[in-house]
Symmetry: C2
Subunit: 159 residues, 2 copies
DNA sequence: AGAAGATAACTAAGTTGGTGAACGAAAATT
DNA sequence: AATTTTCGTTCACCAACTTAGTTATCTTCT
Protein backbone atom coordinates (compact mmCIF):
# COMPACT_ATOMS: atom_id res chain seq x y z
CA UNK A 1 0.00 0.00 0.00
CA UNK A 2 2.09 2.89 1.27
CA UNK A 3 5.61 1.77 0.43
CA UNK A 4 4.21 -0.42 -2.32
CA UNK A 5 6.74 -2.06 -4.55
CA UNK A 6 9.71 -1.04 -2.42
CA UNK A 7 11.35 -4.27 -1.41
CA UNK A 8 14.79 -2.75 -0.79
CA UNK A 9 15.94 -2.65 2.82
CA UNK A 10 17.24 0.48 4.47
CA UNK A 11 17.04 2.86 1.54
CA UNK A 12 19.02 5.95 2.34
CA UNK A 13 18.69 9.51 1.11
CA UNK A 14 21.73 8.90 -1.04
CA UNK A 15 20.10 5.99 -2.79
CA UNK A 16 16.91 7.89 -3.50
CA UNK A 17 18.63 11.15 -4.36
CA UNK A 18 22.03 10.18 -5.77
CA UNK A 19 23.40 13.72 -5.94
CA UNK A 20 22.72 14.24 -2.22
CA UNK A 21 25.68 15.37 -0.16
CA UNK A 22 25.57 16.56 3.40
CA UNK A 23 26.56 20.21 3.75
CA UNK A 24 26.47 22.79 6.50
CA UNK A 25 24.42 25.11 4.30
CA UNK A 26 21.86 22.41 3.64
CA UNK A 27 21.69 21.66 7.35
CA UNK A 28 20.95 25.29 8.02
CA UNK A 29 18.19 25.37 5.45
CA UNK A 30 16.69 22.26 6.96
CA UNK A 31 16.71 23.96 10.33
CA UNK A 32 15.04 27.02 8.87
CA UNK A 33 12.36 24.94 7.19
CA UNK A 34 11.82 22.98 10.37
CA UNK A 35 11.55 26.09 12.52
CA UNK A 36 9.17 27.66 10.02
CA UNK A 37 6.95 24.62 10.16
CA UNK A 38 6.99 24.53 13.96
CA UNK A 39 6.57 28.22 14.72
CA UNK A 40 2.90 28.70 13.76
CA UNK A 41 1.69 26.18 16.33
CA UNK A 42 3.77 27.83 19.05
CA UNK A 43 2.57 31.33 18.22
CA UNK A 44 -1.05 30.20 17.94
CA UNK A 45 -0.90 28.61 21.37
CA UNK A 46 0.41 31.82 22.92
CA UNK A 47 -2.26 33.87 21.17
CA UNK A 48 -5.01 31.48 22.28
CA UNK A 49 -5.84 30.82 18.66
CA UNK A 50 -5.83 27.75 16.45
CA UNK A 51 -3.24 27.47 13.70
CA UNK A 52 -5.93 28.08 11.08
CA UNK A 53 -7.17 31.18 12.84
CA UNK A 54 -3.66 32.62 12.95
CA UNK A 55 -3.13 31.70 9.32
CA UNK A 56 -6.42 33.40 8.52
CA UNK A 57 -5.42 36.56 10.37
CA UNK A 58 -2.29 36.77 8.25
CA UNK A 59 -4.21 36.48 5.01
CA UNK A 60 -6.97 38.85 6.07
CA UNK A 61 -4.46 41.44 7.23
CA UNK A 62 -3.17 41.60 3.67
CA UNK A 63 -6.54 41.54 1.96
CA UNK A 64 -10.16 41.26 3.05
CA UNK A 65 -11.95 38.33 1.44
CA UNK A 66 -14.89 35.97 1.75
CA UNK A 67 -14.98 32.56 3.42
CA UNK A 68 -14.58 30.68 0.13
CA UNK A 69 -11.41 32.50 -0.86
CA UNK A 70 -10.14 32.17 2.68
CA UNK A 71 -10.79 28.43 2.55
CA UNK A 72 -8.60 28.13 -0.53
CA UNK A 73 -5.85 30.14 1.15
CA UNK A 74 -5.95 27.91 4.21
CA UNK A 75 -6.25 24.67 2.30
CA UNK A 76 -9.44 23.62 4.05
CA UNK A 77 -13.09 23.23 3.07
CA UNK A 78 -15.49 26.17 3.07
CA UNK A 79 -17.33 24.48 5.93
CA UNK A 80 -14.18 24.72 8.01
CA UNK A 81 -13.48 28.30 7.03
CA UNK A 82 -17.00 29.24 8.07
CA UNK A 83 -16.07 27.98 11.51
CA UNK A 84 -12.76 29.87 11.45
CA UNK A 85 -14.59 33.11 10.69
CA UNK A 86 -17.14 32.33 13.42
CA UNK A 87 -14.35 32.03 15.97
CA UNK A 88 -12.52 35.15 14.79
CA UNK A 89 -15.77 37.10 15.06
CA UNK A 90 -16.46 35.64 18.50
CA UNK A 91 -13.01 36.78 19.63
CA UNK A 92 -13.70 40.23 18.22
CA UNK A 93 -10.90 39.95 15.67
CA UNK A 94 -13.09 40.13 12.57
CA UNK A 95 -16.48 41.25 11.29
CA UNK A 96 -18.75 40.00 8.54
CA UNK A 97 -19.95 42.64 6.09
CA UNK A 98 -22.46 42.05 3.30
CA UNK A 99 -21.08 42.55 -0.18
CA UNK A 100 -22.67 45.68 -1.70
CA UNK A 101 -23.03 44.26 -5.21
CA UNK A 102 -23.29 40.49 -4.78
CA UNK A 103 -25.86 39.41 -2.22
CA UNK A 104 -24.39 35.95 -1.86
CA UNK A 105 -21.03 37.15 -0.70
CA UNK A 106 -19.77 38.09 2.73
CA UNK A 107 -16.64 40.11 3.18
CA UNK A 108 -14.63 39.28 6.26
CA UNK A 109 -12.78 42.32 7.60
CA UNK A 110 -10.31 42.45 10.46
CA UNK A 111 -11.06 44.68 13.42
CA UNK A 112 -8.34 46.75 15.06
CA UNK A 113 -7.93 44.01 17.63
CA UNK A 114 -7.47 41.47 14.85
CA UNK A 115 -4.91 43.65 13.17
CA UNK A 116 -2.98 44.13 16.39
CA UNK A 117 -3.14 40.40 17.02
CA UNK A 118 -1.77 39.45 13.62
CA UNK A 119 1.13 41.85 13.88
CA UNK A 120 1.88 41.82 17.58
CA UNK A 121 2.80 38.19 18.01
CA UNK A 122 5.17 38.22 15.05
CA UNK A 123 6.87 41.50 15.95
CA UNK A 124 10.01 39.94 17.45
CA UNK A 125 10.57 37.97 14.26
CA UNK A 126 9.94 41.00 12.08
CA UNK A 127 12.44 43.03 14.04
CA UNK A 128 15.17 40.40 13.74
CA UNK A 129 14.42 39.92 10.07
CA UNK A 130 14.55 43.62 9.33
CA UNK A 131 17.93 43.95 11.02
CA UNK A 132 19.27 41.00 9.07
CA UNK A 133 17.97 42.40 5.80
CA UNK A 134 19.46 45.80 6.43
CA UNK A 135 22.87 44.25 7.02
CA UNK A 136 23.13 42.93 3.47
CA UNK A 137 25.32 44.68 0.91
CA UNK A 138 24.05 44.88 -2.66
CA UNK A 139 26.35 42.11 -3.84
CA UNK A 140 25.37 39.87 -0.96
CA UNK A 141 21.72 40.54 -1.62
CA UNK A 142 22.03 39.17 -5.14
CA UNK A 143 23.46 35.93 -3.83
CA UNK A 144 20.86 35.57 -1.11
CA UNK A 145 17.99 36.32 -3.47
CA UNK A 146 19.09 33.66 -5.89
CA UNK A 147 19.44 31.13 -3.12
CA UNK A 148 16.05 31.94 -1.64
CA UNK A 149 14.39 31.64 -5.04
CA UNK A 150 15.88 28.19 -5.39
CA UNK A 151 14.84 27.17 -1.92
CA UNK A 152 11.29 28.40 -2.47
CA UNK A 153 11.05 26.45 -5.69
CA UNK A 154 12.39 23.34 -3.95
CA UNK A 155 9.87 23.49 -1.14
CA UNK A 156 7.06 24.23 -3.60
CA UNK A 157 7.72 20.97 -5.43
CA UNK A 158 5.96 19.46 -2.44
CA UNK A 159 2.81 21.57 -2.80
CA UNK B 1 -8.04 40.73 26.57
CA UNK B 2 -5.97 39.70 23.60
CA UNK B 3 -4.85 43.10 22.31
CA UNK B 4 -5.05 44.42 25.85
CA UNK B 5 -3.98 47.99 26.29
CA UNK B 6 -3.77 48.64 22.57
CA UNK B 7 -6.17 51.45 21.96
CA UNK B 8 -4.49 52.67 18.77
CA UNK B 9 -6.41 52.11 15.56
CA UNK B 10 -4.90 50.47 12.51
CA UNK B 11 -1.46 49.78 13.84
CA UNK B 12 0.83 48.90 10.99
CA UNK B 13 3.97 46.80 10.85
CA UNK B 14 5.95 49.99 10.58
CA UNK B 15 4.50 51.32 13.80
CA UNK B 16 5.19 48.13 15.70
CA UNK B 17 8.59 47.53 14.14
CA UNK B 18 9.98 50.97 13.29
CA UNK B 19 12.99 49.70 11.38
CA UNK B 20 10.75 47.69 9.05
CA UNK B 21 11.21 48.34 5.35
CA UNK B 22 9.72 46.33 2.55
CA UNK B 23 12.37 44.56 0.48
CA UNK B 24 12.39 41.94 -2.24
CA UNK B 25 14.68 39.77 -0.17
CA UNK B 26 12.36 39.93 2.80
CA UNK B 27 9.42 39.06 0.58
CA UNK B 28 11.27 35.99 -0.62
CA UNK B 29 12.02 34.89 2.89
CA UNK B 30 8.38 35.34 3.82
CA UNK B 31 7.42 33.16 0.88
CA UNK B 32 9.91 30.52 1.95
CA UNK B 33 8.64 30.54 5.50
CA UNK B 34 5.06 30.37 4.27
CA UNK B 35 5.77 27.49 1.92
CA UNK B 36 7.65 25.65 4.66
CA UNK B 37 4.69 26.03 6.96
CA UNK B 38 2.22 24.86 4.31
CA UNK B 39 4.14 21.94 2.83
CA UNK B 40 3.87 19.42 5.68
CA UNK B 41 0.08 19.33 5.51
CA UNK B 42 0.18 18.80 1.75
CA UNK B 43 2.75 16.00 1.95
CA UNK B 44 0.95 14.34 4.84
CA UNK B 45 -2.30 14.27 2.89
CA UNK B 46 -0.61 12.60 -0.07
CA UNK B 47 1.06 10.05 2.19
CA UNK B 48 -2.23 9.29 3.97
CA UNK B 49 -0.64 10.37 7.23
CA UNK B 50 -1.39 13.08 9.76
CA UNK B 51 1.01 15.99 10.06
CA UNK B 52 2.22 14.68 13.40
CA UNK B 53 2.86 11.22 11.98
CA UNK B 54 4.92 12.70 9.16
CA UNK B 55 6.79 14.90 11.59
CA UNK B 56 7.44 11.85 13.73
CA UNK B 57 8.77 9.87 10.77
CA UNK B 58 11.28 12.65 10.11
CA UNK B 59 12.55 12.65 13.66
CA UNK B 60 12.63 8.88 13.97
CA UNK B 61 14.50 8.55 10.69
CA UNK B 62 17.31 10.60 12.23
CA UNK B 63 17.29 8.93 15.61
CA UNK B 64 15.26 6.21 17.31
CA UNK B 65 13.66 7.44 20.52
CA UNK B 66 10.88 6.81 23.00
CA UNK B 67 7.40 8.31 22.99
CA UNK B 68 8.31 10.92 25.60
CA UNK B 69 11.24 12.32 23.63
CA UNK B 70 9.14 12.16 20.50
CA UNK B 71 6.40 14.13 22.23
CA UNK B 72 8.84 16.92 22.99
CA UNK B 73 10.07 16.94 19.40
CA UNK B 74 6.51 17.18 18.11
CA UNK B 75 5.38 19.73 20.66
CA UNK B 76 2.51 17.59 21.92
CA UNK B 77 1.79 15.68 25.14
CA UNK B 78 3.07 12.16 25.73
CA UNK B 79 -0.51 10.94 25.56
CA UNK B 80 -0.78 12.25 22.01
CA UNK B 81 2.58 10.79 20.97
CA UNK B 82 1.46 7.41 22.28
CA UNK B 83 -1.36 7.63 19.75
CA UNK B 84 1.03 8.72 17.01
CA UNK B 85 3.22 5.68 17.63
CA UNK B 86 0.12 3.47 17.68
CA UNK B 87 -0.85 4.68 14.23
CA UNK B 88 2.67 4.37 12.82
CA UNK B 89 2.81 0.80 14.12
CA UNK B 90 -0.64 0.06 12.69
CA UNK B 91 0.56 1.30 9.30
CA UNK B 92 3.64 -0.86 9.58
CA UNK B 93 5.98 2.12 9.60
CA UNK B 94 7.40 1.59 13.09
CA UNK B 95 7.93 -1.01 15.79
CA UNK B 96 8.12 -0.82 19.54
CA UNK B 97 11.15 -2.43 21.14
CA UNK B 98 11.73 -2.76 24.88
CA UNK B 99 14.75 -0.88 26.19
CA UNK B 100 17.46 -3.37 27.25
CA UNK B 101 18.57 -1.45 30.34
CA UNK B 102 15.56 0.54 31.47
CA UNK B 103 12.39 -1.47 31.76
CA UNK B 104 10.20 1.60 31.70
CA UNK B 105 11.35 2.71 28.30
CA UNK B 106 10.23 1.76 24.84
CA UNK B 107 12.32 2.48 21.80
CA UNK B 108 10.37 3.29 18.68
CA UNK B 109 12.24 2.15 15.57
CA UNK B 110 11.25 2.76 11.97
CA UNK B 111 10.68 -0.20 9.71
CA UNK B 112 11.94 -0.25 6.14
CA UNK B 113 8.52 0.87 5.01
CA UNK B 114 8.67 3.78 7.44
CA UNK B 115 12.11 4.74 6.22
CA UNK B 116 11.00 4.63 2.60
CA UNK B 117 7.95 6.69 3.48
CA UNK B 118 9.90 9.40 5.26
CA UNK B 119 12.37 9.77 2.41
CA UNK B 120 10.23 9.07 -0.60
CA UNK B 121 7.75 11.86 -0.30
CA UNK B 122 10.44 14.48 0.19
CA UNK B 123 12.71 13.25 -2.57
CA UNK B 124 11.74 15.92 -5.13
CA UNK B 125 12.60 18.64 -2.62
CA UNK B 126 15.87 16.98 -1.67
CA UNK B 127 16.89 16.77 -5.29
CA UNK B 128 16.18 20.42 -5.96
CA UNK B 129 17.91 21.43 -2.75
CA UNK B 130 21.00 19.38 -3.53
CA UNK B 131 21.32 20.98 -6.96
CA UNK B 132 20.95 24.43 -5.47
CA UNK B 133 23.55 23.72 -2.82
CA UNK B 134 26.03 22.36 -5.32
CA UNK B 135 25.73 25.53 -7.39
CA UNK B 136 27.17 27.72 -4.63
CA UNK B 137 30.75 28.96 -4.81
CA UNK B 138 32.73 29.11 -1.59
CA UNK B 139 32.33 32.89 -1.31
CA UNK B 140 28.61 32.69 -1.97
CA UNK B 141 28.25 29.96 0.60
CA UNK B 142 29.66 32.20 3.32
CA UNK B 143 27.06 34.84 2.54
CA UNK B 144 24.20 32.37 2.41
CA UNK B 145 25.26 30.67 5.64
CA UNK B 146 25.32 33.95 7.50
CA UNK B 147 21.91 34.89 6.18
CA UNK B 148 20.39 31.54 7.02
CA UNK B 149 21.79 31.70 10.55
CA UNK B 150 20.11 35.05 10.99
CA UNK B 151 16.84 33.84 9.56
CA UNK B 152 16.84 30.75 11.79
CA UNK B 153 17.44 32.92 14.83
CA UNK B 154 14.64 35.27 13.77
CA UNK B 155 12.10 32.48 13.38
CA UNK B 156 13.23 30.88 16.62
CA UNK B 157 12.37 34.02 18.55
CA UNK B 158 8.81 32.78 18.08
CA UNK B 159 9.42 29.35 19.62
C1' DA C 1 16.83 -3.89 52.40
C1' DG C 2 12.52 -1.23 52.37
C1' DA C 3 9.85 2.97 51.80
C1' DA C 4 9.06 7.20 49.22
C1' DG C 5 9.36 9.70 45.22
C1' DA C 6 10.13 10.31 40.24
C1' DT C 7 9.67 8.87 35.50
C1' DA C 8 7.89 6.34 31.13
C1' DA C 9 4.17 4.71 28.79
C1' DC C 10 -0.36 3.99 28.46
C1' DT C 11 -5.63 4.46 28.98
C1' DA C 12 -10.12 7.01 29.47
C1' DA C 13 -13.13 10.83 28.79
C1' DG C 14 -13.97 15.17 26.90
C1' DT C 15 -12.91 19.06 23.55
C1' DT C 16 -11.62 20.99 19.25
C1' DG C 17 -11.38 21.55 14.50
C1' DG C 18 -11.67 19.07 10.46
C1' DT C 19 -14.65 16.61 6.42
C1' DG C 20 -18.65 15.60 3.34
C1' DA C 21 -23.41 16.19 2.32
C1' DA C 22 -27.52 18.81 2.13
C1' DC C 23 -29.74 23.35 2.00
C1' DG C 24 -31.49 28.26 1.04
C1' DA C 25 -30.54 32.53 -1.18
C1' DA C 26 -28.68 35.13 -4.82
C1' DA C 27 -26.35 35.42 -9.34
C1' DA C 28 -25.40 33.81 -13.95
C1' DT C 29 -26.69 31.19 -17.99
C1' DT C 30 -29.72 29.52 -21.53
C1' DA D 1 -38.81 32.40 -17.20
C1' DA D 2 -36.56 28.29 -16.09
C1' DT D 3 -32.35 26.12 -15.03
C1' DT D 4 -27.79 25.85 -13.35
C1' DT D 5 -24.04 27.57 -10.62
C1' DT D 6 -22.00 29.85 -6.76
C1' DC D 7 -21.63 31.38 -1.89
C1' DG D 8 -22.23 30.78 2.69
C1' DT D 9 -24.01 28.02 6.22
C1' DT D 10 -25.56 24.02 9.02
C1' DC D 11 -25.62 19.14 10.31
C1' DA D 12 -23.67 14.73 11.54
C1' DC D 13 -19.59 12.44 11.97
C1' DC D 14 -14.58 11.59 12.71
C1' DA D 15 -9.65 12.16 13.82
C1' DA D 16 -6.35 13.91 16.89
C1' DC D 17 -5.55 16.61 20.62
C1' DT D 18 -5.93 17.68 25.89
C1' DT D 19 -6.20 16.64 30.97
C1' DA D 20 -6.32 13.40 34.50
C1' DG D 21 -5.32 9.23 36.38
C1' DT D 22 -3.17 4.12 36.27
C1' DT D 23 0.55 0.83 36.20
C1' DA D 24 5.26 -0.56 36.04
C1' DT D 25 9.87 0.45 36.72
C1' DC D 26 13.81 2.93 38.28
C1' DT D 27 16.20 5.99 41.85
C1' DT D 28 17.13 7.88 46.24
C1' DC D 29 17.08 8.24 51.07
C1' DT D 30 17.12 6.31 55.63
Amino acid sequence: MAGAGLEASHRTVQQVVPQWRRSATLDRLQQLIDASATAPAAVARRAHLSASELHALRHLSMQAMGPAELAKALGVTTAASSGVVDRLVAHGHAERHPHPLDGRRTEVRLTDSGRAESIGHLAPMFAALAALDASLSDEERVVVDRYLDGAIAAVRTLL
